[in-house]
């Protein structure tokens, strides 16, 4: 096993780090405060190819690998968790399912503008009554002539109002098993912004990642072309789960970045902050806490990079599953990020509790990584399910 990065990955990291430091970091506190979606920076990321890193060049992407994409989300999240999730939701949850399940026509029509940075993507699965329990979903799609007609709503949608193209899941069939038990069958659809009948509901006021535009989507007799069904009818649940396996790697990378970023901020602080006549870095408690924080994030990094590399193998051979690797990476990185950012605030003392310091925001941003795209409990189900089958 070789854990060293080759030169091209090192150079890619250097690019993402420079971009994050020069463009993203100066705005991070401000957009958290104002909840203003960082449109200008998203456009810069579109221009420089950050929105299609693992997508093949023939579909407008950069033709790099998942590891490079993961490093991008990591470096952005080191300074701004919001910017990290904008890239992650767009790439993993919108570009990736179209690449995996889309027809050639759908790829040309939707994936090319998404991956080449002309359009922004989103993914809409969660509903007010259906989070982890997908069977609670109410949003439905009915076939009518050459259209599908969507009715229902989706909530907590990242990139909500800012996106141009949405992957929307809706119930299309209800089937009965031999014992007469009914279950819902979902299908996935590609929905464009400005489709009549598609509007936005409330904007969520969140604890963290406050500038990421989290909205409710409302569909009222929203008519979309029949060709916009993604993958086979009734196979939407599998598409959603497979897409989330990839999404979890993106969120694991976000968590990794947030945790690492809080360590960077803390190192700067403890060297400056003086108590009892010396910098608090000189106290053994501070040093040992930092050592624990770093060891924990480094362990997370290996899990996240391993998941990314496993997904890269899947790209060449579809028999390889990365579901367990993704679940482990997300579970561990998210919980590490929460623990490490909490310690970072503690080491900052009272200052860490104020909005003057980045670690306050990082701790709030870290929390969501334990919740979205499958809670930590769901990741434990996925991992243990495979162990005990």
């Amino acid at each position: 096993m070789d854990f060293t990065l080759d030169k091209k990955h090192e150079m890619a990291r250097q690019l993402f780090r420079e971009f994050a430091q020069n463009e993203v970091k100066p705005l991070a506190q401000e957009i958290d405060e104002t909840e203003q979606f960082p449109r200008e920076n998203v456009e810069k990321m579109m221009k420089y190819g950050f929105m299609g890193i693992p997508i093949p060049k023939e579909y407008g992407g950069q033709g790099c690998d998942v590891l490079t994409y993961v490093m991008c989300v990591e470096e952005l999240s080191k300074v701004c968790g919001t910017t990290g999730v904008i890239v992650s939701a767009h790439t993993s949850l919108c570009c990736d399912p179209i690449l995996t399940y889309g027809t050639e026509e759908q790829k040309q029509k939707f994936l090319v503008p998404l991956a080449s940075g002309k359009k922004l993507g989103a993914f809409a699965l969660t509903e007010p009554g259906a989070g982890t329990d997908a069977q609670g979903a109410q949003c439905k799609a009915v076939e009518d002539g050459d259209s599908w007609v969507l009715n229902g709503s989706k909530c907590f949608i990242t990139n909500g109002k800012e996106a141009d193209i949405y992957i929307v899941f809706a119930v299309t069939d209800i089937v009965e098993d031999a014992k007469g038990r009914k279950s819902k069958k979902f299908s996935a659809f590609i929905v464009e912004k400005d489709t009549p009948g598609f509007t936005f509901g409330t904007k969520e006021k969140k604890m963290g990642i406050r500038a990421s535009s989290t909205y409710e989507l409302i569909f009222q007799d929203c008519r979309i072309p029949k060709d916009n069904i993604l993958g086979p009818r009734g196979k939407g649940f599998g598409i959603a789960m497979h897409t989330l396996d990839g999404g979890r790697i993106g969120i694991a990378a976000q968590a990794l970045g947030i945790g690492e970023g809080s360590i960077d901020a803390t190192i700067d602080f403890v060297k400056e902050r003086k108590q009892f006549g010396r910098p608090i870095a000189a106290f053994q408690n501070t040093a040992f806490q930092l050592a624990d924080m770093k060891a924990r994030m480094d362990a997370a990094k290996y899990l996240v990079y391993n998941a990314a590399c496993t997904k890269d193998i899947y790209t060449q051979d579809h028999r390889t599953s990365y579901s367990i690797e993704a679940a482990e990476a997300k579970l561990f990185a998210a919980e590490a990020a929460m623990a490490v950012t909490t310690k970072a605030v503690q080491l900052h003392g009272g200052y860490g509790y104020t909005r003057e310091y980045d670690v306050e925001r990082m701790m709030r941003d870290a929390k969501i990584t334990e919740i979205y795209e499958g809670t930590s409990e769901v990741q434990r189900l996925v991992i243990s399910g495979a162990m005990l089958k």
Binding site: G49, F50, G61, C64, T68
Partner: protein, 260 residues
């Protein structure tokens, strides 16, 4: 149109500066970046490429590790890269450097050559104009804006309180200022492509139109007597005197040091 941009790997000012025993820079052990003026020159060339479809080739003379910087230039959008490297070329001053690079440029097709105004290590601003002299080309230095019009370039040359607008027929050489533009970032796909590309490597023997008397440390008329790190100033002397006495004290000190 063929544009050749001469770029140089220079010590990153964030890292420490180290010297060899002969007084030249110990480049091998320092962190390195693309010289800022050169990077602006590359950006100017890439903008001309965006507008006109010109081909951009980057050339450097340096250690084998300058390959990293050439890949960065390729990842920004340059089409080809040439590394001139040979132990026999080491320790070159501006004369030996410009002689060597000019010999390399003679092997390439060019309409326009762009160099940075000066490198942040040597700060001489001599290599660009010297290359032009070796190649018998017109040179416009201190470019703060560049425009191509037919077979000519129109350059705003920075001057103290104004700028000069100078038109020159191509082929010619321009030296660029860092203020010329804001260089673009690389792209992730550009980085991957850059590592798939072949960097052309030329040693001393590939440069036929070059006299041994003009290369390396031996071919450098500049002799470095001594080089050292900046010497830290002492804490200074504080005296508490009234203004009149202070003036007398300062004047006496200046006389003592033969300043006045």
């Amino acid at each position: 149109m063929n544009i050749v941009v001469c770029i140089k790997q220079v010590p990153d000012t964030k890292g420490g500066v180290k010297f060899n025993p002969d007084g030249t820079l110990d480049r091998a052990s320092m962190l390195a970046i693309m010289n800022p003026d050169d990077k602006a020159g590359l950006e100017a060339a890439l903008r001309l490429k965006d507008e006109t479809g010109a081909k951009v080739t980057v050339v450097t003379m340096g250690l084998p590790k300058a390959d990293d910087m050439l890949r960065e230039a390729l990842a920004m959008g340059a089409d080809e890269a040439v590394l001139i490297t040979d132990r026999r070329l080491g320790g070159a001053d501006t004369w030996a450097t410009s002689s060597t690079i000019a010999a390399g440029l003679k092997k390439l097709d060019y309409d326009l050559i762009i160099t940075g105004r000066q490198a942040i290590d040597g700060d001489t601003a001599q290599v660009g104009p010297q290359i032009a002299e070796h190649l018998g080309l017109p040179v416009i230095s201190y470019a703060e804006a560049i425009k191509v019009e037919g077979n000519s370039v129109i350059v705003q040359r920075q001057y103290e309180d104004r700028y000069h607008e100078i038109k020159a027929q191509m082929p010619c050489l321009i030296t660029a200022l860092a203020e010329l533009n804001e260089p673009r970032y690389m792209t992730p796909g550009g980085i991957f492509d850059a590592f798939d590309k072949e960097v052309t490597v030329w040693g001393r023997d590939d440069l036929t139109d070059l006299d041994d008397a003009n290369i390396g440390l031996a071919g450098s008329p500049t002799k470095i007597a001594k080089a050292s790190d900046k010497v830290r100033k002492g804490a200074g002397e504080k005296v508490a005197l009234d203004p009149k006495e202070s003036v007398e004290y300062i004047v006496s000190k200046l006389k003592e040091k033969h300043v006045i």
